[in-house]
């Protein structure tokens, strides 16, 4: 299926402030990997299929792809089989950054902890993170970027 891009959606990607800087020789390799690495191409195709547009790999304020790439991160299959980047490039206000912090603290994948297995400490940790002020600010900024109230 051919994906049709909305020019209005692409404009901020092309004109927004660029996130992440690499030395020129690494930047060259980064561009090659982003274009031709099979895992990254699978991820890009999956992203376009689900979202209906290209991923913002240059100016996304919540995820630094260059930082992730430089840390050796690459898309890996998630629980549902779709390719997914790790946490290395996530900014402080990324919505799922708390999952990596949860794993570091409790040694368990929060997506695999079922009801009845949450300890009081886990519950407290999650409740402090869920819909907290930085995250609500993040969504407020997104809405403002879209011109919504």
């Amino acid at each position: 299926m051919k994906v049709r891009y909305d020019p209005k959606a692409i404009l901020p990607i092309l004109t927004g402030p660029r996130v992440g800087i690499l030395p020129p020789e690494q930047e060259k390799q980064y561009q090659v990997d982003m274009a031709f690495d099979p895992g990254i191409r699978d991820w890009r195709q999956n992203f376009e299929k689900n979202v209906g547009g290209p991923p913002n790999t240059d100016t996304d304020p919540s995820f630094d792809y260059r930082k992730a790439w430089a840390a050796g991160d690459t898309p890996r299959p998630s629980a549902d089989g779709s390719p997914h980047w790790g946490s290395a490039g996530k900014a402080e206000n990324h919505p799922t950054r708390w999952k990596a912090e949860f794993m570091d603290k409790f040694g368990e994948d929060p997506d695999a902890v079922g009801d009845g297995r949450y300890t009081p400490e886990m519950k407290e940790f999650i409740r402090a993170k869920i819909a907290s002020e930085p995250i609500l600010d993040f969504f407020a900024a997104e809405r403002a970027a879209r011109g919504e109230n």
């Binding site: 549902d80 886990m122 995250i135 969504f139």
Partner: protein
Amino acid sequence: MKIKFRPLRVSDFYNIELQPRHAHAEPMFHANPLVLHALTDSPFSFTMEVDGKPVAALGPTDTREIWAYLGHDLKRHMVRLVRYTRAMLEMYGHCWARVDRNNPDGERFMLLLGLRKVKVDEEGTMDTWVNDR
């Protein structure tokens, strides 16, 4: 008017004045307190309070299914509820929900939460919705 989001409590299921479309579910919920306790166990479940009165409760189950227990006359508070829930779902990750096929309000709520319709259940009475996380 003060709006507050807090962790879900079992008593909220008895204090929320349900909207008429959900009224058929009330006896089933009230007759199964163990189910209510299980729903409150998820740290992602929350209650929305307006001036100290619970008006809506929402959360995921163990199977990542999203449920909602919504009071009547939520119109004025829907924007806050949707924004908070969207933020919660972004952080929660993959989830799904089922909505009656004859419930246009429920379908609109799903669209507002960023879910998309994927299939009809075996009985042909409910649609399944998912987010793409």
